[in-house]
């Protein structure tokens, strides 16, 4: 773990890719980049809360991109984060129906790098829809699935975290919860449509 939590771009990418001590890496992103990146959002009419929320989504998207090996290091991390944040904020403004002069100004100010991250923004939106479905599950289901698929805990370890009698009970619970989530996904028209298009 890096004690001072200051990483070079290359160190940060390596830390995220390795998936070790991710909390320290995230904290480092906040410490080194949040102020500069958030100022874009505030400059284009966002509140501090908007800037905080957008930066959080930006960090999530950035980590996802890096973990998938899709970050090419052609721009600095700060530039890349700023591009994601600005695109995400522009989408948010469109959703809020505020496509006025300020936003046209913003559109004109977008450069090539930012256009390159726009496909990541679509992915971010898709992930947000999926997350909303996980949040519709009960807390116990959400917890079992997170412990298994995100924390990568074994059934035995999960028994120590949750009030279930043994590994078989947890395994059954996980089956049911995953099927419940799959049913929610199937019942979501937007996601089901995307899925059908993918399968064509």
């Amino acid at each position: 773990m890096k004690a001072e939590e200051k990483y070079t771009d290359a160190e940060l990418i390596a830390a995220i890719s390795a998936g070790k001590d991710l909390n320290t890496a995230i904290r480092s992103i906040y410490r080194q980049h949040s102020e500069a990146v958030s100022s874009f959002v505030i400059h284009y009419g966002g509140s501090e809360q908007d800037a905080d929320d957008i930066f959080q989504e930006t960090v999530v998207a950035f980590i996802d991109i890096v973990k998938k090996g899709k970050y090419r290091m052609e721009a600095s991390i700060r530039t890349f984060l700023a591009s994601i944040a600005r695109n995400y904020w522009f989408n948010e403004l469109k959703k809020r129906g505020r496509s006025g002069h300020r936003d046209r100004q913003f559109e004109m100010g977008r450069d090539q790098d930012e256009a390159d991250v726009s496909h990541h923004i679509a992915e971010l939106e898709r992930k947000r829809q999926l997350r909303e479905l996980v949040e519709q599950l009960g807390e116990s289901c959400r917890k079992v699935l997170l412990l298994f698929y995100y924390e990568n805990l074994s059934m035995k370890e999960i028994v120590n975290h949750l009030p279930y009698e043994n590994e078989q009970v947890v395994r059954n619970k996980k089956y049911k919860c995953l099927q419940q989530l799959t049913d929610l996904i199937k019942a979501n028209p937007a996601i089901a449509r995307q899925m059908q298009e993918t399968l064509k």
């Binding site: 999530v60 949040e135 807390e139 009030p163 089956y175 995953l178």
Partner: protein, 264 residues
Amino acid sequence: MTPEETRLLIDHLDETLTGTRNAGLDRLLEEDPEAAQEWQYLGLAVEAVKAEGLHAQVASVRAAWKAEDAGLRIAAVPETVPPAKATVHRLYKKYGLRAAACVLIVASSAFLYKYLSVSSQSLYDRYYSTYELNTSRGAGDERPVVKAYDAKDWSAVLSIAGSAKNKDNQAEFLSGIADLQLKKYDDAISHFEQIIAVNTIGGTDYYQDEAEYYLAISWLAMHKVNEAMPILEKIRSDAHHQYHEKVAKMSFFDLRLAQFKENK
């Protein structure tokens, strides 16, 4: 797809199958469009869980970082010194700087004290209070577990509730509180989570609010602020929650500070 086939697909996805069963499922996925589609949906479900996990982790670090940042601002910003008149400008500057230094030292010391003194255990001690059965639930109730609880006989509460054939949420909850009293925090958590699980499955809310609040308190006792925070934030944002006012009065700055220390 039969439920059994879906289970096999999930096992295949989790990579818990071996040898020929894997090969058989690979063939099924190639030949059966319905199975292939189910496989895609299962993959999407796992992707959704991972997205939720990452989002929750970033949100947790964000909260800790905000608390840390706020703490540093408190420690670093001295009070404004009013502008001095020209005749005593130098004197004011000299003493102003000393005053600013003093304020900085005091503020830093205060923050350091706060930083060192705040812990999940101190927060537990501050916010834990024994649950009192209210009259509608307690008065005239002849249930042995309630009698034992009223008599503060914690071991008896656990023994009676534990031997009951069909333990309901009240017995489960009183057992949780008894475990808290006996400092058996792990067991307390199991009882409160069991209530929440039962309510989730059955669509009921009997002792739900109580279980949520005391579950968060139990996590604090276990030095797991990361587990307690989402529950406390949920209660704080829900004006109809029975413990909303209690949680709204909590110091979230202290909680986040403890969370930051825990995540270090």
